[in-house]
Amino acid sequence: MKRFCAIIYVLLAAAGLYAQDAASVAMPFSPLPRNVRTLSLGGVTAADDAAFRCLGSESLDLSASWFSWAPKGVKSNDINLDAFARIGRRFALGAQFGLDSGARYDIYDSQGSKSGFFSPKDMIFKLGAAYRITPSISAGASFRYLYNQLAAKVSYSAVAADITASMQFAGARVFAGVTNLGGSVKAADGTAFGLPTAASVAGDYRLALGEMHALSACAQFDLFFKGGIRAGVGAEYGFKDLAFLRLGYSYGGKSAFPSYFSAGLGVKFSGFKLDATYLLGSTAIGGTLGVGLGYCF
């Protein structure tokens, strides 16, 4: 435990030393959770990674979700599709697609005169593959395409990759990887701005309390290469594997990501699942609401 605390301390210190202006991070929407359950558990996005899921019990997990994102911030309506499928005993594929339709904004010129309006949008497409090296160890890689339409004739795009590995032991799963590794975007003045590349560690543990109850906990720590850290923790109570209550917290510090509390509910029956989440504790994204529908077995 001491060793773990020391590592955490060193990482925090490094993040502080390495701290850079969070405003210089391009496409910060890239690492945001696209799954309702993940968001409600403090944004522990490792749960969506193919290599991590490869060590789980589901063979197929399909879901679709809708978010009313950041009603007091950069408001958008987000539609997400998430899929995971195991292929054979060792191979698995994961895919995500997200389309964020931003709220319309009025355009004012340099003199303050209104000259029009525009509705921005973001898009993300992620495709990952995982290989189960041993029954308890897996490794994977994901590629993502990011697109950001900010104004008429002003758009940006980038490609990034995640390299991850997971291990399972004693009923727990641990995760480590580098995410959003790759490209950058250039501003109008030619300055390049990098994506939120991070080194991440995460893990979860599930404790069954008889046949009726179960508790799950998860946590993730991200160290951003451009500075700042993010940490997330979450817990889920399950009743008869039929209903779920979730709580979480995400800490953004001085990074390009906010701190917030999350709460969520879920039901599951015969493989079909319905989840909801709500964020609070943040000026910008407090009030965010998400609803998801899925099927898994």
Binding site: V25, A103, Y105, I107, D109, G112, A187, T283
Partner: protein
Amino acid sequence: MKNYLLLAAAGLLVCACSMELEPRESVPAPESEDVVNTTSYVPGEIIVEFSDDLIAQLEKDLQGGSFLQTRSESVNSVFAGMGVTAVERLYPDAGEWEPRHREAGLHKWYRVKFDPDMPQTKAVRDMSGIPGLEYAGRSPRIQPTSIFNDPLLPRQWHYINDGSCGSQHKAGCDINVEPVWVHFTGGSSDVIVAVIDGGVDASHEDLASVVIPGGPNGSRNFVSGGYQIVPNGHGTHVAGTIGAVNNNGIGLCGIAGGLDGKGGVRILSCQVFEPNPSDPDHEKSGGFYEALVWAADHGAVIANNSWGNVYDTEKDALNGGVGGMKGAIDYFIKYAGLDINGEQVGPMKGGLVVFAAGNEGWRMGWPAAYEAVVAVGAVAPDFTRAYYSNYGDWVDIAAPGGSQQYSGGTIWSTVPGNRYEGYQGTSMACPHISGIAALIVSQFGGPGFTCDMLKERLLGGANPNVMSKSAQIGPLTDVLGSFSYGSTKAPDAVSDYSVNVHSNFIDFEWKVARDPDEKVAYGYLLMASEDRSLLDNIDFRNPPQGVYYTVVPGGDAKIGAKLNGTLVVPGFNTAYNVAIAAFDYSKNYSPVSAVKFVETGPNTPPVITTTQSETLTLKAHESVFINFQISDPDAHGYTISLTPGSAAVTEVLNNITEYRIQVYAPAVEPGKYEAVVAVTDDFGAVSTWTLHYEILENHAPQAKGNIENLIFTSPAEKKSIHMGDYIFDPDGEQLIYTIDASPKGLVHLNQVEDALNLTTMDYGLAHVTITGTDTKGLTASVDLKVLIRDPESAPDVYPTHVTDVLKVSDGEEKSLSISISNSAGALLYEQTVTCDAFEPAIVDMSGWAPGIYAVRVVSGSKTMRTNVVKL
């Protein structure tokens, strides 16, 4: 025309030869329809008087003939609408008298000629709409009170042509009959002229007393036989030219129509053309040969033949001849005026046969080309051959035949039904010669007077100098020339005259001199010489060097009347011997009058008057006009010249009596200059006026400091600012302001002289630049910010698309709490700043990654959220 041709062809069958006979073509002129309307006024002409200002503006254009492109748009518009063809001074430039004429305002009166079809009343109404026109009225017909009271005489330009009947008319293109009417005769009833033509309307009001009735010893119809004359337009028109009764108060005049309203020569109508009621297009004709013989046997001594043979081609005409007509013509020439025994019983022994040359425009016409007859060609109102007239050296004499190609250019005469019409053709020229011949016979006829004598006087007196030889229609007939032909008796010497001298003008006044054979002298030679001996034995036709002279026509003045004239001599303060000689139309000169001795006065230089002193200082932007009144005490003509000294001085008005220059300082660099106005009279006397003028240095405009920006709370608010409060010119010059506003659409700017009226149109911040420019192009500018902002509106966050900085303001000085988060929700910026209306708070986003950001601004009780985009 066609019916004449066919009828003539019928007549030709009688002749059993290749000839055809036709009356010379004539066409009624359109003016006949508005005789009543235009009797009292000259058609296509009005008289106007311009104001002083308007004539000063227009005079150069009008004198230069640019009357449709003057400097007055209103004048141009009205003139174009009227179809104006000429604008001429009512009182032409009078040379040495011009200054006085101008002083009397005569130079402001003009005669405007226009489309004669346009109603005069409309023309007057249109002209009256021109600003600055003081008078416009119809041009009354004016006829000489000493001649006849026939109302249509003014239309008969062919008798007296003063150029007023049409813009293309040339004064003097007439038969010069008026002096003969005044001093000699209007025709005698002893003279009978045979009109071998269509029947003459003996009942016509203007012919009834002179047409010999049909009967065994009178007029006769050779077509139908018998003595019943059927009136015909052509024949009646011809007869009217010869003998329409003069001075009877009705209709018009005939050349030999008498003087007292009772008629002159008589007309014997020998009808050879007759209307055909059963076939109106084919007039009947016949009896041409016997008509001539009948005329000779029944008292006529002149035979008018306004007709001729018809040929298909000019070549046929060139190969033609007089044919069987020769016998009839020769008979008339030989036996007319004689009784059956060969004794002269008429006013002339033998007869004159006059033929129209023909209207084909060919080089030949018969029987006119028969050498025994007088062949008559037609002249238009401007001394040119009428377009239709046949021509050649066989044509003996020219007379007016009229032309429809000229406004008011046809020949006016009688037509049946107490009407009057204008025709054209050699048919109309022919009776002019017959009428003139009749006048000559009336004056000179009697026992022993022969046809040859008549012919010599008729042709010898014609004027060969007024028409081009290329016309080939002979000399233009001249009645006075024929009457004075062969005259060798000079007028009496001028016995009583007086002389008055001023400067180098010698004014003569004398009484009309008598001429033994021409009644009165035709003109006078006023002479002066320093050497008296040069006057004693002077050759009037070639006055020697040293004799100064001028010619004064006698006009219509009769014996006893006083005449006057002025002779200008070159010498001032010089003794001259002066005298007068009279001459007649044949240039027979009277003896020199008594020689008188006079001494001319001095030449006084012109006088230049102005209220401007001879020194002038102008700032670089200033301009002044200097007016001069110019006059010459001796009434000499003069010229004005300007030596400007620099480009600043220009002449802007020079209308003889008034002269104006402008000194325009911006045209030159600062400095001292000198301009000279010089006036030189026609005899070299000079007056000068010198202006010493200085142009001062120019100073650039300057902007005033502490410009107060403007704040408005809504659109449609107004404010007026005085731009002179922002920019001033050290020279006191009135600056020219230009205004620019950016962006457009927020403020409407309306400049009224120095005031700038602003009206807000939309919310926003406008930058207004006011630039003042002086005459030299130097400028000064001030920038003014204009904010239009609703005080209740949310704070302003702009631009939405940020490249470097984001501005936040709230319309007045305030403390603002600004927070910005990115699309992930992270709070990236949170500050409390201050701003005022024209200095917004600045958030530097130059280091921010491209993306969309949420901005939250708290200003007092107001909170606003918006998104901005970092590009």
